[in-house]
Amino acid sequence: MNPSMPITEAPGLFTADGLTGLIFLVMMAVTLIGGLIACCAERLVRAVAGLMVCFVGVASLYYFLNSPFVAMMQMLIYVGAVCITIAFAIMLAAPEESKKNGPAGPLSGPLGFITAGIVTFGLIVMALNTKFPILAKVNQGTAKEIGIQLLTQYSMVFELISIVLLIAIIGALVLARAGRSK
Protein backbone atom coordinates (compact mmCIF):
# COMPACT_ATOMS: atom_id res chain seq x y z
CA MET A 1 0.00 0.00 0.00
CA ASN A 2 1.27 3.42 -0.86
CA PRO A 3 1.36 5.35 2.42
CA SER A 4 0.61 8.68 0.79
CA MET A 5 -2.75 7.50 -0.57
CA PRO A 6 -5.63 7.92 1.84
CA ILE A 7 -8.13 5.06 1.65
CA THR A 8 -11.42 6.34 0.29
CA GLU A 9 -13.50 3.18 0.17
CA ALA A 10 -13.72 0.36 2.67
CA PRO A 11 -11.28 -2.43 1.74
CA GLY A 12 -12.34 -6.05 1.75
CA LEU A 13 -11.79 -7.94 4.97
CA PHE A 14 -9.25 -10.38 3.59
CA THR A 15 -7.08 -7.89 1.78
CA ALA A 16 -3.91 -6.58 3.39
CA ASP A 17 -5.58 -3.26 4.22
CA GLY A 18 -8.65 -4.96 5.62
CA LEU A 19 -6.67 -7.22 7.92
CA THR A 20 -4.51 -4.32 9.01
CA GLY A 21 -7.65 -2.40 9.87
CA LEU A 22 -9.05 -5.39 11.73
CA ILE A 23 -5.88 -5.73 13.79
CA PHE A 24 -6.02 -2.03 14.54
CA LEU A 25 -9.65 -2.33 15.67
CA VAL A 26 -8.78 -5.28 17.91
CA MET A 27 -6.02 -3.26 19.52
CA MET A 28 -8.37 -0.32 20.01
CA ALA A 29 -10.93 -2.67 21.56
CA VAL A 30 -8.34 -4.12 23.94
CA THR A 31 -7.27 -0.64 25.00
CA LEU A 32 -10.84 0.57 25.51
CA ILE A 33 -11.97 -2.56 27.36
CA GLY A 34 -8.93 -2.32 29.61
CA GLY A 35 -9.71 1.31 30.33
CA LEU A 36 -13.36 0.49 31.08
CA ILE A 37 -12.36 -2.28 33.49
CA ALA A 38 -9.93 0.09 35.18
CA CYS A 39 -12.71 2.65 35.68
CA CYS A 40 -15.62 0.40 36.55
CA ALA A 41 -14.08 -2.41 38.59
CA GLU A 42 -15.28 -2.65 42.18
CA ARG A 43 -12.09 -4.25 43.43
CA LEU A 44 -8.95 -2.22 43.16
CA VAL A 45 -6.80 -5.15 42.12
CA ARG A 46 -9.11 -5.80 39.19
CA ALA A 47 -8.81 -2.14 38.27
CA VAL A 48 -5.04 -2.58 38.14
CA ALA A 49 -5.52 -5.63 35.93
CA GLY A 50 -7.68 -3.53 33.63
CA LEU A 51 -5.06 -0.82 33.60
CA MET A 52 -2.50 -3.41 32.60
CA VAL A 53 -4.68 -4.60 29.71
CA CYS A 54 -5.10 -0.98 28.65
CA PHE A 55 -1.33 -0.37 28.71
CA VAL A 56 -0.68 -3.54 26.72
CA GLY A 57 -3.23 -2.30 24.18
CA VAL A 58 -1.48 1.05 23.93
CA ALA A 59 1.88 -0.69 23.57
CA SER A 60 0.50 -2.82 20.75
CA LEU A 61 -0.75 0.37 19.06
CA TYR A 62 2.75 1.81 19.24
CA TYR A 63 4.11 -1.37 17.74
CA PHE A 64 1.45 -1.25 15.05
CA LEU A 65 2.45 2.32 14.26
CA ASN A 66 6.06 1.31 13.60
CA SER A 67 7.61 2.35 16.90
CA PRO A 68 8.84 -0.88 18.47
CA PHE A 69 11.13 0.99 20.84
CA VAL A 70 8.33 3.11 22.29
CA ALA A 71 6.14 0.01 22.50
CA MET A 72 8.75 -1.87 24.51
CA MET A 73 9.32 1.12 26.76
CA GLN A 74 5.56 1.27 27.33
CA MET A 75 5.63 -2.39 28.37
CA LEU A 76 8.70 -2.04 30.54
CA ILE A 77 7.71 1.16 32.31
CA TYR A 78 3.93 1.14 32.45
CA VAL A 79 3.16 -2.57 32.69
CA GLY A 80 6.33 -3.66 34.43
CA ALA A 81 6.81 -0.75 36.80
CA VAL A 82 3.76 1.49 37.16
CA CYS A 83 1.19 -1.32 37.42
CA ILE A 84 3.30 -3.24 39.90
CA THR A 85 3.86 -0.13 42.01
CA ILE A 86 0.13 0.57 42.08
CA ALA A 87 -0.66 -3.05 42.94
CA PHE A 88 1.93 -2.92 45.70
CA ALA A 89 0.46 0.27 47.10
CA ILE A 90 -2.99 -1.34 47.14
CA MET A 91 -1.71 -4.41 48.95
CA LEU A 92 0.15 -2.41 51.54
CA ALA A 93 -2.64 0.11 52.09
CA ALA A 94 -5.84 -1.93 51.91
CA PRO A 95 -5.39 -5.60 52.65
CA GLU A 96 -9.14 -6.04 53.08
CA GLU A 97 -11.79 -5.80 50.42
CA SER A 98 -11.95 -2.27 49.05
CA LYS A 99 -14.43 -0.16 50.93
CA LYS A 100 -17.12 1.85 49.26
CA ASN A 101 -16.03 5.32 48.36
CA GLY A 102 -17.38 8.31 50.24
CA PRO A 103 -20.39 10.30 49.09
CA ALA A 104 -20.28 10.94 45.38
CA GLY A 105 -19.24 14.39 44.22
CA PRO A 106 -21.52 16.85 42.44
CA LEU A 107 -20.36 15.58 39.04
CA SER A 108 -21.80 12.08 39.50
CA GLY A 109 -25.18 11.01 38.18
CA PRO A 110 -26.97 12.96 35.45
CA LEU A 111 -24.57 15.87 35.56
CA GLY A 112 -21.69 13.50 34.97
CA PHE A 113 -23.40 11.97 31.97
CA ILE A 114 -24.06 15.42 30.53
CA THR A 115 -20.43 16.41 31.00
CA ALA A 116 -19.25 13.19 29.39
CA GLY A 117 -21.69 13.71 26.52
CA ILE A 118 -20.48 17.26 25.90
CA VAL A 119 -16.84 16.18 25.95
CA THR A 120 -17.53 13.23 23.63
CA PHE A 121 -19.53 15.43 21.26
CA GLY A 122 -16.73 18.01 21.20
CA LEU A 123 -14.16 15.34 20.46
CA ILE A 124 -16.27 13.85 17.67
CA VAL A 125 -16.81 17.26 16.07
CA MET A 126 -13.10 17.97 16.34
CA ALA A 127 -12.16 14.62 14.85
CA LEU A 128 -14.57 15.02 11.94
CA ASN A 129 -13.44 18.55 11.16
CA THR A 130 -9.73 17.90 11.37
CA LYS A 131 -7.86 17.07 8.24
CA PHE A 132 -5.36 14.30 9.04
CA PRO A 133 -2.37 14.86 6.80
CA ILE A 134 -0.41 11.73 6.01
CA LEU A 135 3.18 12.46 6.90
CA ALA A 136 6.21 10.81 5.47
CA LYS A 137 7.90 8.28 7.73
CA VAL A 138 10.44 10.19 9.82
CA ASN A 139 12.79 7.32 10.60
CA GLN A 140 12.72 3.65 11.57
CA GLY A 141 11.98 4.38 15.22
CA THR A 142 14.95 2.33 16.34
CA ALA A 143 16.70 2.83 19.64
CA LYS A 144 19.67 4.42 17.92
CA GLU A 145 17.67 7.06 16.06
CA ILE A 146 15.59 7.91 19.09
CA GLY A 147 18.74 8.16 21.19
CA ILE A 148 20.39 10.52 18.74
CA GLN A 149 17.27 12.69 18.61
CA LEU A 150 16.96 12.72 22.40
CA LEU A 151 20.54 13.81 22.94
CA THR A 152 20.66 16.42 20.18
CA GLN A 153 17.41 18.06 19.19
CA TYR A 154 15.46 17.27 22.35
CA SER A 155 18.29 17.29 24.88
CA MET A 156 16.66 20.11 26.86
CA VAL A 157 13.43 18.15 27.31
CA PHE A 158 15.44 15.07 28.20
CA GLU A 159 17.34 16.89 30.93
CA LEU A 160 14.20 18.54 32.29
CA ILE A 161 12.48 15.17 32.58
CA SER A 162 15.43 13.79 34.49
CA ILE A 163 15.12 16.75 36.89
CA VAL A 164 11.44 15.93 37.40
CA LEU A 165 12.42 12.36 38.25
CA LEU A 166 15.12 13.59 40.62
CA ILE A 167 12.58 15.76 42.41
CA ALA A 168 10.25 12.78 42.69
CA ILE A 169 13.00 10.63 44.19
CA ILE A 170 13.96 13.31 46.70
CA GLY A 171 10.31 13.82 47.58
CA ALA A 172 9.87 10.11 48.18
CA LEU A 173 12.95 10.05 50.37
CA VAL A 174 11.72 13.02 52.41
CA LEU A 175 8.31 11.42 52.90
CA ALA A 176 9.83 8.09 53.88
CA ARG A 177 12.30 9.69 56.29
CA ALA A 178 9.63 11.78 57.98
CA GLY A 179 7.86 8.63 59.11
CA ARG A 180 10.85 7.34 61.05
CA SER A 181 11.26 8.30 64.67
CA LYS A 182 15.03 7.88 64.78
Binding site: R46, A49, P68, F69, M75, G80, F88, M91
Partner: protein
Protein backbone atom coordinates in the same frame (compact mmCIF):
# COMPACT_ATOMS: atom_id res chain seq x y z
CA UNK B 1 3.91 -9.74 4.82
CA UNK B 2 2.11 -13.08 4.83
CA UNK B 3 5.46 -14.84 5.04
CA UNK B 4 6.30 -12.84 8.13
CA UNK B 5 2.98 -13.75 9.73
CA UNK B 6 3.57 -17.42 8.92
CA UNK B 7 7.10 -17.15 10.29
CA UNK B 8 5.86 -15.70 13.53
CA UNK B 9 3.09 -18.30 13.85
CA UNK B 10 5.48 -21.20 13.25
CA UNK B 11 7.93 -19.64 15.66
CA UNK B 12 5.30 -19.28 18.35
CA UNK B 13 4.24 -22.91 17.94
CA UNK B 14 7.86 -24.04 18.13
CA UNK B 15 8.42 -21.77 21.13
CA UNK B 16 5.44 -23.29 22.96
CA UNK B 17 6.65 -26.77 22.12
CA UNK B 18 10.19 -25.98 23.19
CA UNK B 19 8.99 -24.39 26.43
CA UNK B 20 6.69 -27.29 27.25
CA UNK B 21 9.32 -29.92 26.48
CA UNK B 22 11.89 -28.05 28.53
CA UNK B 23 9.48 -27.57 31.41
CA UNK B 24 8.63 -31.27 31.45
CA UNK B 25 12.15 -32.59 31.21
CA UNK B 26 13.78 -29.93 33.36
CA UNK B 27 11.46 -30.99 36.17
CA UNK B 28 12.72 -34.53 35.63
CA UNK B 29 16.32 -33.29 35.57
CA UNK B 30 15.72 -31.24 38.67
CA UNK B 31 14.26 -34.17 40.59
CA UNK B 32 17.00 -36.51 39.44
CA UNK B 33 19.61 -33.92 40.33
CA UNK B 34 18.05 -33.35 43.74
CA UNK B 35 18.01 -37.07 44.37
CA UNK B 36 21.64 -37.44 43.33
CA UNK B 37 22.75 -34.53 45.50
CA UNK B 38 20.73 -35.69 48.50
CA UNK B 39 21.83 -39.32 48.03
CA UNK B 40 18.38 -40.82 47.59
CA UNK B 41 16.54 -42.40 44.64
CA UNK B 42 14.80 -39.92 42.33
CA UNK B 43 12.00 -40.66 39.87
CA UNK B 44 13.47 -43.84 38.38
CA UNK B 45 10.54 -46.24 38.17
CA UNK B 46 8.59 -45.15 35.07
CA UNK B 47 10.53 -45.94 31.96
CA UNK B 48 14.31 -46.01 31.56
CA UNK B 49 15.89 -43.59 34.06
CA UNK B 50 12.35 -42.46 34.94
CA UNK B 51 12.08 -40.71 31.57
CA UNK B 52 8.34 -41.44 31.34
CA UNK B 53 7.68 -39.52 34.56
CA UNK B 54 7.06 -36.07 32.92
CA UNK B 55 4.34 -37.21 30.46
CA UNK B 56 2.61 -39.16 33.22
CA UNK B 57 2.73 -36.11 35.48
CA UNK B 58 1.33 -34.05 32.62
CA UNK B 59 -1.58 -36.44 32.13
CA UNK B 60 -2.26 -36.40 35.84
CA UNK B 61 -2.29 -32.62 35.99
CA UNK B 62 -4.48 -32.24 32.92
CA UNK B 63 -7.10 -34.74 34.02
CA UNK B 64 -7.53 -33.26 37.47
CA UNK B 65 -10.54 -31.12 38.24
CA UNK B 66 -9.99 -27.38 38.43
CA UNK B 67 -10.67 -26.24 41.97
CA UNK B 68 -11.38 -22.60 42.71
CA UNK B 69 -11.40 -21.70 46.40
CA UNK B 70 -14.57 -20.14 47.78
CA UNK B 71 -13.70 -16.50 48.29
CA UNK B 72 -11.31 -16.30 45.37
CA UNK B 73 -11.42 -13.66 42.70
CA UNK B 74 -12.34 -16.06 39.89
CA UNK B 75 -11.16 -14.01 36.94
CA UNK B 76 -7.77 -13.10 38.37
CA UNK B 77 -7.37 -16.63 39.68
CA UNK B 78 -7.84 -18.05 36.19
CA UNK B 79 -5.88 -15.36 34.36
CA UNK B 80 -2.76 -15.50 36.53
CA UNK B 81 -1.33 -18.85 35.32
CA UNK B 82 -1.81 -17.81 31.70
CA UNK B 83 -0.12 -14.52 32.44
CA UNK B 84 2.79 -16.40 33.98
CA UNK B 85 3.25 -18.50 30.86
CA UNK B 86 2.54 -16.06 28.00
CA UNK B 87 5.41 -13.56 28.47
CA UNK B 88 7.89 -16.41 28.72
CA UNK B 89 6.67 -17.82 25.39
CA UNK B 90 6.77 -14.39 23.77
CA UNK B 91 10.36 -13.88 24.87
CA UNK B 92 11.43 -16.98 22.95
CA UNK B 93 10.46 -15.26 19.72
CA UNK B 94 13.45 -12.95 19.71
CA UNK B 95 16.13 -15.25 21.14
CA UNK B 96 18.69 -16.17 18.47
CA UNK B 97 19.48 -19.85 18.92
CA UNK B 98 21.99 -19.68 16.12
CA UNK B 99 22.97 -17.49 13.23
CA UNK B 100 19.88 -18.52 11.28
CA UNK B 101 17.49 -19.93 13.89
CA UNK B 102 15.69 -16.88 15.20
CA UNK B 103 11.98 -16.26 14.79
CA UNK B 104 11.97 -12.51 14.64
CA UNK B 105 15.19 -10.67 15.23
CA UNK B 106 14.55 -7.22 16.64
CA UNK B 107 17.09 -4.48 17.03
CA UNK B 108 15.78 -4.05 20.58
CA UNK B 109 15.60 -7.74 21.39
CA UNK B 110 17.20 -7.35 24.79
CA UNK B 111 14.71 -4.66 25.74
CA UNK B 112 11.85 -6.85 24.56
CA UNK B 113 12.89 -9.74 26.79
CA UNK B 114 13.16 -7.46 29.81
CA UNK B 115 9.81 -5.85 28.96
CA UNK B 116 8.03 -9.19 28.91
CA UNK B 117 9.95 -10.56 31.87
CA UNK B 118 8.64 -7.67 33.94
CA UNK B 119 5.09 -8.88 33.33
CA UNK B 120 5.81 -12.10 35.21
CA UNK B 121 5.69 -10.29 38.54
CA UNK B 122 2.11 -9.22 37.83
CA UNK B 123 1.10 -12.83 37.31
CA UNK B 124 2.48 -13.69 40.74
CA UNK B 125 0.66 -10.72 42.28
CA UNK B 126 -2.66 -11.66 40.69
CA UNK B 127 -2.23 -15.29 41.68
CA UNK B 128 -1.55 -14.39 45.28
CA UNK B 129 -4.32 -11.86 45.51
CA UNK B 130 -6.84 -13.88 43.54
CA UNK B 131 -6.47 -16.91 45.81
CA UNK B 132 -7.68 -15.04 48.91
CA UNK B 133 -5.20 -16.88 51.04
CA UNK B 134 -2.91 -15.20 53.56
CA UNK B 135 0.05 -17.31 52.64
CA UNK B 136 -0.44 -16.70 48.95
CA UNK B 137 -0.64 -12.94 49.43
CA UNK B 138 2.45 -12.88 51.61
CA UNK B 139 4.35 -15.03 49.17
CA UNK B 140 3.36 -12.91 46.22
CA UNK B 141 4.34 -9.69 47.99
CA UNK B 142 7.70 -11.26 48.75
CA UNK B 143 8.20 -12.58 45.25
CA UNK B 144 7.30 -9.26 43.65
CA UNK B 145 9.48 -7.15 45.92
CA UNK B 146 12.31 -9.52 45.13
CA UNK B 147 11.65 -9.38 41.39
CA UNK B 148 11.49 -5.61 41.39
CA UNK B 149 14.68 -5.16 43.39
CA UNK B 150 16.70 -7.64 41.35
CA UNK B 151 15.51 -6.24 38.06
CA UNK B 152 17.54 -3.08 38.71
CA UNK B 153 21.05 -4.59 39.00
CA UNK B 154 20.18 -7.01 36.20
CA UNK B 155 19.25 -4.18 33.84
CA UNK B 156 22.30 -2.11 34.83
CA UNK B 157 24.59 -5.07 34.19
CA UNK B 158 22.91 -5.71 30.85
CA UNK B 159 23.44 -2.05 29.97
CA UNK B 160 27.17 -2.51 30.59
CA UNK B 161 27.23 -5.23 27.95
CA UNK B 162 25.09 -3.12 25.63
CA UNK B 163 27.57 -0.25 25.97
CA UNK B 164 30.50 -2.47 25.05
CA UNK B 165 28.73 -3.94 22.03
CA UNK B 166 26.88 -0.79 21.05
CA UNK B 167 23.68 -2.67 20.27
CA UNK B 168 20.61 -4.15 21.89
CA UNK B 169 20.25 -6.62 19.05
CA UNK B 170 20.89 -10.05 20.54
CA UNK B 171 22.30 -11.29 17.24
CA UNK B 172 24.77 -8.42 17.01
CA UNK B 173 25.79 -8.95 20.63
CA UNK B 174 26.58 -12.59 19.88
CA UNK B 175 28.27 -11.79 16.59
CA UNK B 176 30.61 -9.40 18.41
CA UNK B 177 31.86 -12.31 20.53
CA UNK B 178 32.61 -14.84 17.81
CA UNK B 179 36.03 -16.28 17.07
CA UNK B 180 37.24 -18.11 20.14
CA UNK B 181 36.39 -17.98 23.79
CA UNK B 182 38.78 -15.09 24.52
CA UNK B 183 36.34 -12.84 22.69
CA UNK B 184 33.46 -13.72 24.98
CA UNK B 185 32.13 -10.97 27.16
CA UNK B 186 32.72 -12.94 30.33
CA UNK B 187 36.47 -12.41 30.04
CA UNK B 188 37.92 -9.01 30.92
CA UNK B 189 39.06 -6.76 28.13
CA UNK B 190 40.70 -3.37 28.02
CA UNK B 191 37.35 -1.58 28.16
CA UNK B 192 35.83 -3.72 30.81
CA UNK B 193 38.22 -5.23 33.34
CA UNK B 194 35.33 -6.15 35.62
CA UNK B 195 33.46 -8.34 33.15
CA UNK B 196 33.67 -11.54 35.26
CA UNK B 197 32.06 -9.56 38.06
CA UNK B 198 29.28 -8.50 35.66
CA UNK B 199 28.71 -12.11 34.79
CA UNK B 200 28.41 -13.11 38.44
CA UNK B 201 26.07 -10.19 39.13
CA UNK B 202 23.91 -11.12 36.16
CA UNK B 203 23.86 -14.77 37.15
CA UNK B 204 22.81 -14.00 40.74
CA UNK B 205 20.12 -11.66 39.44
CA UNK B 206 18.79 -14.25 37.03
CA UNK B 207 18.61 -16.76 39.89
CA UNK B 208 16.59 -14.25 41.90
CA UNK B 209 14.43 -13.15 38.97
CA UNK B 210 13.37 -16.70 38.26
CA UNK B 211 12.59 -17.28 41.96
CA UNK B 212 15.15 -20.03 42.31
CA UNK B 213 16.77 -21.20 45.50
CA UNK B 214 18.58 -19.80 47.42
CA UNK B 215 16.29 -16.89 46.55
CA UNK B 216 12.96 -18.74 46.36
CA UNK B 217 11.34 -16.74 49.13
CA UNK B 218 8.07 -16.74 47.22
CA UNK B 219 7.91 -20.51 47.52
CA UNK B 220 9.26 -20.96 51.01
CA UNK B 221 7.32 -24.09 51.84
CA UNK B 222 8.60 -24.13 55.41
CA UNK B 223 6.83 -20.84 56.21
CA UNK B 224 4.24 -20.28 53.50
CA UNK B 225 2.70 -23.71 52.88
CA UNK B 226 3.69 -23.61 49.21
CA UNK B 227 3.88 -19.99 48.16
CA UNK B 228 1.79 -17.95 45.76
CA UNK B 229 0.43 -21.09 44.10
CA UNK B 230 -0.81 -22.69 47.31
CA UNK B 231 -4.41 -22.77 46.07
CA UNK B 232 -3.65 -23.94 42.57
CA UNK B 233 -4.16 -27.51 41.51
CA UNK B 234 -4.36 -29.29 38.16
CA UNK B 235 -3.10 -27.46 35.09
CA UNK B 236 -3.12 -24.02 36.74
CA UNK B 237 -0.28 -25.26 38.87
CA UNK B 238 1.17 -26.92 35.80
CA UNK B 239 1.20 -23.61 33.94
CA UNK B 240 3.03 -21.89 36.80
CA UNK B 241 5.56 -24.66 36.74
CA UNK B 242 5.99 -24.43 32.98
CA UNK B 243 6.30 -20.67 33.22
CA UNK B 244 8.98 -20.99 35.87
CA UNK B 245 11.04 -23.40 33.80
CA UNK B 246 10.51 -21.39 30.62
CA UNK B 247 11.81 -18.38 32.51
CA UNK B 248 14.83 -20.37 33.63
CA UNK B 249 15.55 -21.29 30.02
CA UNK B 250 15.23 -17.64 29.01
CA UNK B 251 17.49 -16.52 31.84
CA UNK B 252 20.12 -19.08 30.83
CA UNK B 253 19.78 -18.11 27.15
CA UNK B 254 20.21 -14.45 27.98
CA UNK B 255 23.27 -15.16 30.10
CA UNK B 256 24.67 -17.26 27.26
CA UNK B 257 24.04 -14.55 24.69
CA UNK B 258 25.33 -11.67 26.77
CA UNK B 259 28.39 -13.30 28.29
CA UNK B 260 29.16 -16.71 26.85
CA UNK B 261 29.18 -15.99 23.15
CA UNK B 262 25.80 -17.48 22.24
CA UNK B 263 26.15 -20.03 19.46
CA UNK B 264 29.89 -19.45 19.14
CA UNK B 265 32.22 -22.39 19.69
CA UNK B 266 35.06 -21.89 22.19
CA UNK B 267 37.65 -23.15 19.70
CA UNK B 268 36.00 -22.01 16.48
CA UNK B 269 34.71 -25.48 15.52
CA UNK B 270 31.24 -25.82 13.97
CA UNK B 271 29.50 -22.82 15.50
CA UNK B 272 25.80 -23.52 15.67
CA UNK B 273 22.72 -24.17 17.68
CA UNK B 274 24.30 -27.17 19.49
CA UNK B 275 26.82 -24.96 21.24
CA UNK B 276 24.02 -22.64 22.32
CA UNK B 277 22.01 -25.54 23.72
CA UNK B 278 25.08 -27.02 25.41
CA UNK B 279 25.79 -23.72 27.11
CA UNK B 280 22.25 -23.10 28.31
CA UNK B 281 21.90 -26.63 29.66
CA UNK B 282 25.21 -26.32 31.49
CA UNK B 283 23.92 -23.10 33.04
CA UNK B 284 20.63 -24.76 33.95
CA UNK B 285 22.53 -27.64 35.51
CA UNK B 286 24.34 -25.04 37.61
CA UNK B 287 20.94 -23.58 38.58
CA UNK B 288 19.82 -27.01 39.77
CA UNK B 289 23.11 -27.68 41.52
CA UNK B 290 22.87 -24.37 43.40
CA UNK B 291 19.25 -24.97 44.33
CA UNK B 292 19.92 -28.25 46.06
CA UNK B 293 23.17 -27.34 47.78
CA UNK B 294 22.43 -23.92 49.32
CA UNK B 295 19.91 -23.20 52.06
CA UNK B 296 17.28 -20.52 51.53
CA UNK B 297 18.18 -16.97 52.53
CA UNK B 298 15.96 -14.71 54.60
CA UNK B 299 13.84 -12.04 52.94
CA UNK B 300 15.81 -9.20 54.58
CA UNK B 301 19.11 -10.74 53.63
CA UNK B 302 17.83 -11.09 50.11
CA UNK B 303 16.70 -7.48 49.75
CA UNK B 304 19.82 -6.17 51.49
CA UNK B 305 21.98 -8.14 49.07
CA UNK B 306 20.29 -6.43 46.16
CA UNK B 307 20.04 -2.86 47.43
CA UNK B 308 23.27 -2.65 49.43
CA UNK B 309 25.66 -4.79 47.43
CA UNK B 310 24.48 -5.64 43.93
CA UNK B 311 23.10 -2.24 42.90
CA UNK B 312 26.15 -0.22 44.07
CA UNK B 313 28.49 -2.76 42.49
CA UNK B 314 26.65 -2.77 39.20
CA UNK B 315 26.49 1.04 39.13
CA UNK B 316 30.22 1.23 39.83
CA UNK B 317 30.82 -1.29 37.06
CA UNK B 318 28.66 0.74 34.68
CA UNK B 319 30.47 4.00 35.44
CA UNK B 320 33.89 2.36 35.17
CA UNK B 321 33.00 0.79 31.83
CA UNK B 322 31.60 4.07 30.54
CA UNK B 323 34.77 5.89 31.60
CA UNK B 324 37.10 3.30 30.10
CA UNK B 325 35.14 3.22 26.85
CA UNK B 326 35.59 6.99 26.65
CA UNK B 327 39.31 6.89 27.46
CA UNK B 328 40.38 4.03 25.16
Amino acid sequence: MSLTVLNVLVAVVIAIGFAALNAAYLVWAERRGAARIQRRPGPNINGPFGLLQPPLDGIKLMTKQIMIPGGADKILFMVAPVLAMAPAILSFVTIPFSDTIVAHNMDIGLLMIFAFASMGALAVLFAGWGSRNKYSVMASVRAVSQNVSYEIPMLITAITVVMITGSMDLKTITAAQTGGFWNWNIFPSLHSPLMPLSFILFFICSLAETNRAPFDLGEAESELVAGFHTEYGSMGFGLFFMGEYANIVIGASLTTILFLGGWDCPFGLFPGVWWFLLKIYLLIATFIWIRWTFPRTTIYGLLNLSWKILIPLSLFNLLLTAGLLKVF
